[in-house]
Amino acid sequence: MSGPNTDYDPVEVAAVSPAEVEAARDAALAAIAAAADLEQLKAVRSEHAGDRSPLALANREIGALPPQARKEAGQRVGQARGAVNKALAARQVELEAENEARILVEEAVDVTLPTDRDPVGARHPLTTGSELIADIFVAMGWEVAEGPVIEAEWLNFDALNLGPDHPARTMQDTFWTEPADNHVVLRTHTSPVQARTMLTRTPPIYVVCPGRVFRTDEYDATHSPMFHQVEGLAIDEGISMAHLKGTLDHFATQMFGEGITTRFRPSYFPFTEPSAEVDLVCFVCRGSQVNDEGETCRTCRGEGWIEWGGCGIVNPRVLQACGVDSSRYSGFAFGMGIDRTLMFRHGLEDLRTLFEGDVRFTTAFGSEL
C-alpha cells in the first residue's frame, strides 16, 4: 500500500473509480445469483467478498487517497460491499433451505416397513374381566374380598348351611385334600370368602369376591376342574330382594350395555332363602329371535334369556353361623361364573382356550380394559 498522496485524485485511481466499483459489485451480485449450491456460494464469497476480492482491494486503496477524496470513495466502496454481503447472506439462507429440503427428500423412508422388533404382551381376559367386574362394584362403594383356594371344610360347607348330609353337597363334586379326615378342600365356590368376611367384619358389608374354584369335573369344551366365580354379598339393615335385583340390573347394564336387565326364577341354594336363578336379557338379540324359526340367536339359542347365575336372600342360618345378628340385619348374595360370562360375552366356543396358554388367544384380548 502506498502512503498518502496529496495530489492523488481518487477518480483517477482505477480501483476506486465509480465504474470499477460498480463493475466489481455487479460482477459479485451476478456471481452470487449464479451460485447453484452452498459449495459454489462459498467460492463466490471468497472471490467477491474475500480478502483478495476487487472490492476488498478497493477498500484498501481508500486509505491511500487524499483526505478530501476518502469520504466519497469510502461511501462508494462501502455501499458496494454492503450490497454484496447482503446478497451473499440472502443467497446463503436460500441455498441452505434448498439443501435441507433436498436432504429431507433423500431421507424419506417406506413407512410400511414392519416395526415389530419387540414382543407384545397381554394380560389374560380372566384377569381383565375380573377387574372390570371389580371396578363396577368398587364404583358403587363395594369392596373386593379375597380368600385362599385351599379352604377349611367348615367354611366351604357347614358355615353356609351345607351340613354333612345335605343333598346339595353331592351337587358339588369336591376335591378333598389328604388325609380326607383333614377337613380341608379345594374350595368349590367363592362363598367361603363371604363367610370369612362376615366372620371378621361388622355390617354394613358390601363385598364382591372374584376367584378361582375347583370341582371334580372332567375337562371338556364346557367343563373344567378349575374355573372362576364372582360372588357378591350385601349385609345391612333393611336389605331386600329389590336391592338384589337393583344391583344385578346395574351390574348387567355395566357389563353388557344399556337395556340389558335381569329376571329371577325361583330356585334352591342352601345359603340363600328365598333363592333365585338369575337370567340376563340376551345382549345379542335382545329377545328379538324368540320363537323365530328362521333365525335362531346363537348366544341364547332363541330363548331371549341367558342363564347367568344364582342369588337370593342370605339364609339366616348362615348369618347365625357367621356371627351376624339376623334379627337386625338381612343380606343378599349372588354368584356367577366368570369363565362362562366371558364365553358368552366374547362368543368363545371352547372353555379350554382359556387355560391352554396359547399366546394368540390372549394377545387378541390385549385391547380390553
Partner: protein, 826 residues
Amino acid sequence: MKAPVSWIRELVDLPADVTTEVLTDRLTALGLKLEAIHSADITGPLVIGRVLTQDKEPQKNGKVINWCTVDVGDANGTGEPQGIVCGAHNFGPGDLVVVVLPGGVLPGGFEISARKTYGHLSAGMICSARELGLGDDHDGIIVLPPDAGEPGDDVFELLGLDDEVIEFEINPDRAYALSLRGVAREAALGFGAPFTDPAERSLPEVDGRAWQVEVEDPAGCPVFAARLVSGFDPTRPTPDFMKRRVEQAGMRSISLAVDITNYVMLELGQPIHGYDADKVAGALRVRRAREGEKLTTLDDAVRDLSTEDLVIADDSGPIGLAGVMGGATTEMSDTTTRVLVEAAHWDAVSMFRTGKRHKLTSEAGKRNERGVDPLLPGAAADRVVELMVEHGGATAEPGFTLVGTAPERPTISFEPDLPARLSGIDISAVTTVESLRAIGAAVTESGDGSLEVVPPTWRPDVNDPYDLVEEVVRIVGYDQVPSVLPRRATGRGLTRAQRLRRRIGRTLAGAGCVEVVSFPFVGEATFDRLGLPADDPLRSTVGLANPLSSEEPSYTTTLLPGLLEAAGRNVSRGAPGVSLFETGTVAFPSENGPAPIYGVHTRPSDAELEKLLEALPVQPLHLAVVLAGERSRAGWWGEGADAGWTDALAVVRRLADELGVRIQVANAARMPWHPGRCAVVSIDEVVIGHAGELHPSVCKAFGLPARSAAVEVDLDALMAAAVDVTPGPVFSTMPVAKEDVALVVDASVTVAEVEAALREGAGELLESVRLFDVYTGEQIGEGRKSLAFALRFRAPDRTLTDAEISAARDAAVAAAVERVGAVQRT
C-alpha cells in the same frame, strides 16, 4: 322328572286354553324349571286303515310279503284303496290298522313316500308300535280294536301321540315335585285350578294282619305300611296306558308287578317295594345292619353292609337295603303270585348316607333321600293293591299293617310382613295368609298379629320363616320384585395388594409377556421333569384324596410346570419365541391339621377361628415368567435376539423398579435353573425367588429352545416391600463430570463387588456408576477380566474443579484396588 301333560291334566282341571307352553312358563315361574318338552316326533297323515285284501307273496329270499289294499277313507284325497306292501303277518282282511301315508315323517326323520318294492308300488306303510316310537314291541303291526274308529280317522289322539311330556329340572329341596301329584299340585297353584289328590283314598282299618312287621329303629323308619295280594297273574301284560306313562317318565317297562310299583311311585312320589311273598321267611324286621352282613341287591351286586345301613330283614337275614334297593332273594319274578307290598317312610339322612356309601342311585333312593310325604305309605300301598287287582287279576288279602306314625310338622311363628320386608314387594298380610294356605299350610292368626303356620306334610323343605317367605314370594311372582340400588355402601376402594397386582400385571404385559392361567395339579413326574432333587422341599405337597388324574395328585408348590408346558405348547404350535407369565397361589402343607368342624348355631370364637386358619396350607402368591426362543425379532433392521438369562433378570429388575423395591442378586445353583446362570433374588437378605437360564435338561424335557430362561418369585414378599410413600427426590442442576475407568480383576470377582468398592471409594460426589464394557483376552491374561465403568460426578452446589474430580476418581479406583485387587488399566 318327566311328566306327561295328559297325566297332569288328569289330576288338575286346567282351563282348556292353557297350552303346554303356558303351563311350563307358569311352572318355571313357580320354581319347576322347564328342561325340555318332548313330543311324538311324527308328522301326519297318520290314519286308521281297514285292510281290504291281503295277498301273500313268497319271495326268492324265502320271505313272504303281504300285498294289501287298505281303505283309508278320504285321507289319501281320492277315496280309492291304498296299495301297501307289509312284511308283518299278525293281521288279516277286515282288521283296523295304523297307516302312514306318503308325505308323513316317522321318528328319526324317516320320510314316507310311494316307492317301488317287491314288484309293487307301495304307497305308505302299515305301522308297528316301535315305528311310531311307542315302545319296543315290533312283533307285528298295531291292530286296533274294531270300534277304534272309521278308515281315514286321524289316530294321533287315539294312540296318545298328541301327548307332550314335560321334563323338569327339580331342585333338591322340591322332592314332592318328583311325582305327578306334586307337579299337578303346583299347576293347580299356578292357575287356581281344582286339584284331585290321588293320595286321598279311603283305607281299610289298620289291623296289623297283612304281614308281621317289627320296626326296631323308628327314627330311621317312622312309618311302615304292608299289604298282601294273592292270585296275581304274572303272565298278564302291562296295560298300554301304564306302560306308555312309565316309559314317558323315562323308566323301563319290566313286568306288570314292577310297572305297577313304579307307576304308583311316579303318581304319588312314594317309593314302593314288592316282595315275592312266598320267598319271605317270617316277619319283616326293620333294623340297622349288623357287622359283617352282606346283601345281594337287585342289580346282582354283593354289598358289604355297614352298621349304619338300614335294612329290611326276615328270618334269613337282610333281604333289602331299606329305601334304596331290594334284595335278590325275595325279588318278584315271572312266577310270583303272592305279592307283599311295602311302602315306608325313611329318614332322609340315613337314605342319603347309604346311597353315597354304596354309590347307589335309584329312583327310590332319589326320592327317599330328599324327603317323602310321611302320610303316603298307607295310601300308596292301597293304590298298588288296587292296580294289581284291576290289571293282574289278584285278590286283595284282608289286613293292613301300618307301623309308626308320621312325624309332626313344626309350628312356625311368622310375622305377616316378613315377605314384604324381604322381597321389597308390597305384599299384604291377607295375600301372605292366602298364599300360605294355597301351598297347603295350616295358618292360624294369633292375637298379637303374628301367624302360627304348620307347613304341609309333603313339604319337608319348609321349616323356617324364610322358607315361608319364598313360598309367598314365588306365588306373588318373582317378576314383581322391584329394582332398587342399595345406597349405603361406603367402601375403601381396592386394597394395596389389589392395586399392586394390577400394576405388576400391566408391567409384565408392557415387558412383552403374555399372561396364562394354568391348572395347579402336579405329580412326582412333574418334579422329575424339573430335575428337582429327591429331598427338594418343593416335593412336599398338599395331596388330593380324589385327584382327577393319578399322575397329578397334588396341588403345586411352583408355578413353573404349568408355565413351561404352556410355553412348550406354543413352541410346538410354531411360535418362534414366547414370553409368558402367571400369577397364582401355590401351597405348602400345614402341620396344624386337621381343620376343626364347628357347630353352626353360633359363631366360632376368635381363638377357634385362628385354629381353623392355622390348619390350612400356607398359600403364598407367586409370580413366574418363562422366556423361550426369540425375544426380539430379526428384521430388515438387523438381527434379533433369543431370550436368555439376562432377559429373566431384566424382568425381575423392571418389576422391582416399578414397585420401588431394592433387590439384591447373587449367583446360585438351583434346579430347574442352569447351575452357573441362576440368580437368587433377595430383599434385605431374605430370598424371594430365582431367575436365570433354565437347565438344558429342563428345556429338553419341556420341548423348549436351548437357553430359555425363567423366573419364579414370591409375589407376597415382593409386594410387602413395595414403597408406600416415595420421598421427594433431590437432585443437583450443576454441571456433571464424566470419568471412565477400566479395572482388571480376577475372573471370580463379581461386578457387584467392584461396583460397591467404587461407590464407597468415590464418596459423596459420585452420582452414578455403570458398567459399560467387559473384556477378556490375551492382553489381560488368563483368569482375569477388564471391567470398564462410567462414573458421573456432581456436586449439589458448585461446578467441580478438575482437582476434585481427579481426587474422587482416584479414591474410587484406590478402593477397588484395595478391596477386590483391581488393577487400573491405562
